[in-house]
Amino acid sequence: MTGTYMPESPNNTTFREQLNLAQHAAMEADKSMLSFGLGISDPKAIFGTTANLAESFGSHRVFDMPTSENAMTGIGIGAAIAGSRVLMTHQRMDFFLLAMDQLVNNAAKWHYMFNGQMKVPLTIRLIVGRGWGQGPTHAQNLQSWFAHVPGLKVVVPSKTDAVASQLYSAIMDDNPVIFIEHRWLHEQQCGSTSVLPLQSPHESVRVHRQGADCTIVANSFMVLEALIAADFLQHRGINVEVVETVSLEQSEWQKIYDSVEKTGRLLVCDSAHGHFSVASEVVSSVTEQCFKALTEAPRRLCLPPYPEPTSYYLTKPFYRNANDIVAAVAEMMGVKVAGGIELDVSTPHDVPGNWFKGPF
């Protein structure tokens, strides 16, 4: 592969590098593939995730675009229908609101309404912002919108070991796939796990941690918070099962139901607003499927029902973190858990790490 980030040891790799690698591999594997988006080939290369793609594959296949989100989405769909494999990238999901007509009225329905005669191999990367004053219009995660529309697939990565294979399989999927990336994950190291091969079969649900006391269902950045909470709880004798919804497709959630059948308790950690949401669907699907097994009312930990304010001082209580998860689990278990997780006080609450210096 040309021009790809290739870390010396796979464990040293980051989420961002893995995203880049998947794109290089896909462009290489399918010569019909096109990739475009605002700033995709500029010096910042979408937080580094699209680095070297234009250089490696040429500006006829990888290109920047006018600020025309609606038509450009239609153009991506039209090219995909014609036989190109298409990847589009948006620096923020919020900008993509301009393109809902193309996405919902065309992409999602095309294969269906033309009776299977055409298909739309299109993947759309949408990046969700958070903190550093992203504010009301640069931090939205409308994942439940996409999940509600028949004909769209929604994939929400969270871990560096799987993200390359998840993006690769999204791109190679012959259906429109919405790929929702949280900005705070980009520098996440792979850690001790090894990277999954690009062509690994797609797992809709990943069970990251086994436990008999409570099922925590999470996605995106909340998976990381859930794993921290799980660690802490384990040292207090509470074993939670951490289950990730990689695909927002409730017919593929059997592993969640299996888990709740075992634990009898459900806590859903959604990275979006909680009302009329993905969390609502998890709670209702589980309630329908596992009613007898549930020993407690399921709970949701989600964003409050107002927009992200911009100010540092106002965002403090906006996002749920590992301590909130610990508290919720303790309440559900009817136990007191002493102390709290010592958060890294050297990092302000509105940045993912000290590497982040703003402004975007």
């Binding site: 038509a71 239609g74 229908i81 193309q102 294969h111 009776n115 299977g116 191999p121």
Partner: protein
């Protein structure tokens, strides 16, 4: 003369098909919103005669003429209107979602302006793959008010894509005249030029003029000289959606209607042929042949089996 006859055949064929649909629509067996092309056939015929089978077409809610002129299957169209298995989408899409891939008619869509970017994307594919084919996208005057037209045209001009935009300006969007939608003095052609398209306008009821104008533009588009737009001035005879005449509603000036009716493309061609000395009997025969074809198509559609709703969940995903 042969050329005139050929035009006449194509225009009359679409007219008779649309009239047959109109006549039978009140039987309530074609149960979907249907926008007839009656009065606007010349644009579709003129443009299509400049195209190859391998060229691709996208269209809007008012797509019957474009589909038929490009060679779309008549039987599959009628069966589609009847919601039958042999319809071009097996009954899923109806009149507003036609397709005939063999004929190069990719698709029509029901949301105003939203197939224009698809067509431009099709042309992008053609350009990147260095195909010798071009794309045509048909839409109405109303569609030029959508940002999707503007954004798509900008990108087509930026990349010099092989796409011909065909705007059938029939003066109306449903019942709404230009005066409530576009500033006075608006020229769609000048607007398109300012966006970066090569643009021409033509009497859309004169099939020969349309053919000539589109041939010139298609030639340049195919040569890679960039995208173009052809505005065809025309008029719809009947109501916006449905089979009836609706001038009793008074939304169009009777003189305007009258004037356009005199410019009816079928009548014009008929008169030209008669003046050129073609025997009436030849025209009657030609009409009879078309009517036979139509009769067969309706018989086919009615005999076609009904699609099975048990398979409704098929093809949600590829």
């Amino acid at each position: 003369m042969n050329k005139l006859l050929a035009y006449y055949h194509d225009v009359l064929r679409i007219r008779l098909i649309e009239e047959a649909i109109a006549t039978r629509y009140s039987d309530q067996q074609m149960r979907c919103p249907t926008h007839l092309s009656i009065g606007q056939e010349a644009a579709a015929v003129g443009v299509s005669r400049s195209l190859r089978v391998t060229d691709n077409v996208y269209s809007s809610h008012r797509a019957h003429a474009h589909y038929l002129a490009k060679g779309g299957s008549l039987k599959a169209l009628i069966a589609e209107l009847y919601g039958k298995q042999d319809g071009c989408t097996g009954g899923r899409g109806g009149s507003m979602h036609l397709t005939d891939l063999d004929a190069g008619f990719i698709a029509s869509t029901a949301i105003v302006g939203n197939s224009i970017p698809l067509a431009v994307g099709n042309a992008l594919h053609q350009q990147v793959q260095r195909l010798d084919h071009i794309t045509v996208t048909y839409f109405g005057d109303g569609a030029t008010e959508e940002g999707s037209f503007y954004e798509a045209a900008n990108f087509a001009a930026l990349k010099q894509l092989p796409v011909l935009f065909v705007c059938e300006n029939n003066r109306f969007s449903v019942y709404s005249p230009m005066t409530v939608r576009q500033p006075s003095g608006r020229s769609i052609v000048e607007l398109s030029r300012a966006i970066g398209l090569r643009a021409e306008e033509v009497d859309g009821n004169d099939v020969e003029a349309v053919h000539k104008a589109s041939e010139t533009l298609v030639d340049k588009v195919r040569k890679g000289e960039g995208p173009a737009l052809l505005e065809c001035h025309t008029y719809r005879h009947r109501e916006h959606c449905g089979p009836n005449f609706d001038d009793q509603l008074g939304y169009r000036a009777p003189e305007e209607v009258e004037q356009w009716m005199q410019r009816d493309p079928v009548t014009q061609l008929h008169n030209k042929l008669v003046s050129a000395g073609v025997d009436e009997s030849r025209l009657v025969l030609l009409k009879q042949q078309i009517e036979d074809e139509i009769y067969e198509a309706f018989a086919f559609a009615k005999a076609s089996s009904t699609p099975n709703p048990d398979y409704n969940d098929r093809y949600l995903y590829a």
